[in-house]
Amino acid sequence: MSTISEIPKEEYITTCTAACAGCSSSLSLRYVLKAAGPDTVLVVPACCTSVIQGMYPNTSFNVPVYNIAFAAAAACASGMSKAFRSAGKKTNVIVYAGDGGTVDIGIQALSGAFERGTDFLYICYDNEAYGNTGMQRSGATPLGAVTTTTPAGKTETKKDLDQIVAAHNPPYMATACSAYPLDLYKKVKKALSIEGPKFIHILAPCPPGWRYNSDKTIEVGKLAVKTGSWVLYEREYGKLTVSGPSRTALKKPHPIEEYIRAQGRFKKATPEIIAELQQSIEKNLARIKKEEEGIC
């Protein structure tokens, strides 16, 4: 499959959801479900997706959605996956969790489920803050970003979730971004064809949280990739391959300012912070290049 027009027309999310205008995490979920198809259960901890799906007795999603407590998604999915497999069912169990529910409160359950080799797909959609509760900082909030609990800009760097997951040696893990739906679609398809614990980390720009106009949601995602702030890759059985859209950035990334200036949340970032962000991009790109070439 090489063009977006080949993605199935079936929709598993109705056109009416409670998401904000320009919400790219719900856009991502649309493609995730197109790839996963109807034999799928979503496990959702407390996050924006708990709200986006709508209010009882309505639902905007057309697959079963199992809502669960904030810290518990991966553990709940462990039980669900074992139960389906013991009944001889191949049903996809997909956790769709925010960054807070993944890198902060949910990381213990995530680690446990991966260590036990649970047959499921864990997707973290990363809007780099606690969206549901009104944009407080999370461990995934980048350095310098203003949130409601970091009014002067975050003083710590973004937690490297992917390295933590990689340390569990899952058979498949990948990064994706809402601005590249075809890439995301293919990665979900591939992940679900593999048995065991799979992980996809989606960068999901968020207009109210990142403070840009909702019509810019794709543009901001593309800038994240073009500047190398976000690198698209997949790691199959430990072998890393950088994905198409990130190839150019790997060679010559756009300056970070292009990404940062498109968003209001970095307006308090000093030149020093911007330089630090730029350095960490260069370090990360170098590390990924080396890993892809097999020198690490």
Binding site: F70, D104, I105, T133, G134, Q136, G139, T148, T149, P151
Partner: protein
């Protein structure tokens, strides 16, 4: 200073004045505004507090425990699932005799997700050894938070205190707030047995049955002493700042023949209901229970009692009604109302009184 404030901001204003050395907190609706406000005070250098943005509520309480054990003043705030996720650490904080103060914005429990007011979250922590007070106004949220530090840190108590305020109906509404010039109302925190490398001790090691039993009794002894400390503190508060509080807020109870017992903001609705009923010739009164732990002695002899429970203990009954009955032997008309933020107006409360059937339980709005 007189101002307009939400319940959440009133709590934050009190915390700012009490100036804890450490605040460790995690966001959850409808508490979030409290910690956002504190974070902004800290960022602006308006208060000398270390703010730890922990990764969960279990860690929020654990961080408060670690900080408090060194002898400094600590504060956190949470709600609903956050409070439940802390549960293990709540027992720990009380068992370790640490005077941590926490605001809990009362909210219903999932599933399904519901962010509106209910008291089951706090009542589920009934047996943790925390003192619990429930407030009914923005002013009281502020006053009770200030008093909580003094009560918790009193050496006769040395137990954590939870200040409960209703989600949205108090946390997010605006009322007038008069802040006080605190002076020395809250004396410096002097925790005995604070961690001291010059005097090394083991904290919470393996403990055999006899010693363990004595430690538990000591918690209860302090809970009993806390009644006196609460009384003294509320009296001193009234003397200095002019606002009177007690174990319950009574409204037109002196000659009342029927008394509505409730907690939180419903207690303020009940006062309006009492006025309506009085006009009809029904001698009604309202008793808004403020302290839940230690549970106060209420004088309800010779009156008919209508208890509104915004909570439920499944398989048993309303928690407040059951507690009152256990303490006083009084049979009441137990109305279960307001769960998950169900709207309960003063007219509804007046109806509860008019239609009371003593000895029965009624689920408001559910017809079988």
């Amino acid at each position: 200073m007189l101002m307009i404030s939400t319940g959440n901001k009133a709590v934050a204003a009190a915390v700012k004045q009490a100036a804890p050395s450490v605040v460790a907190a995690y966001p959850i609706t409808p508490q979030t505004e409290i910690i956002e406000q504190i974070a902004s005070y800290v960022a602006a250098g308006e208060v000398e507090t270390e703010y730890i943005p922990v990764e969960s509520e279990h860690s929020a309480m654990a961080a408060c425990i670690g900080a408090s054990a060194t002898g400094v003043r600590t504060f956190t705030a949470t709600s609903s699932h956050g409070l439940l996720y802390m549960h293990e650490m709540l027992h720990w904080a009380a068992g370790a005799r640490l005077p941590i103060v926490m605001a809990n914005v009362n909210r219903a429990l999932g599933p399904g997700w519901n962010t509106w007011a209910e008291h089951t979250d706090a009542f589920s922590q009934r047996d943790t050894g925390w003192l619990q007070v429930f407030v009914g106004t923005v002013q009281e949220a502020y006053d009770a938070t200030l008093m909580a530090f003094r009560i918790a840190e009193d050496e006769r108590v040395l137990l954590p205190v939870m200040v409960n305020l209703d989600g949205f109906t108090l946390s997010h509404i605006m009322q007038s707030l008069e802040t006080v010039d605190l002076g020395d109302f809250i004396p410096a925190n002097r925790l005995p047995y604070a961690i001291d490398v010059k005097n090394p001790m083991g904290y919470g090691p393996m403990t055999g049955p006899d010693d363990y039993f004595r430690f538990r009794w000591d918690i209860e002894r302090s809970m009993r002493d806390a009644r006196e400390v609460i009384r003294e503190t509320e009296e001193e508060f009234a003397r200095r700042f002019g606002r009177k509080y007690g174990p319950a807020e009574e409204y037109r109870c002196e000659d009342a023949e029927v008394v509505v017992v409730s907690m939180g903001t419903l207690g303020k609705e009940a006062e309006v209901a009492v006025d309506i009923l009085r006009k009809e010739g029904i001698k009604a009164g309202s008793m808004r229970l403020r302290w839940f732990r230690p549970f106060p002695d209420l004088d309800l002899k010779g009156r008919e009692v209508v208890v509104i429970d915004r909570d439920y203990s499944f398989g048993f009954g309303g928690v407040v009604a059951a507690s009152l009955k256990a303490k006083t032997g009084i049979e009441c008309y137990n109305v279960i109302a307001g769960l998950g933020g169900q709207e309960v107006t003063y007219n509804d409360i007046a109806d509860f009184v008019r239609d009371r059937r003593i000895g029965e339980e009624m689920w408001f709005g559910v017809s079988e």
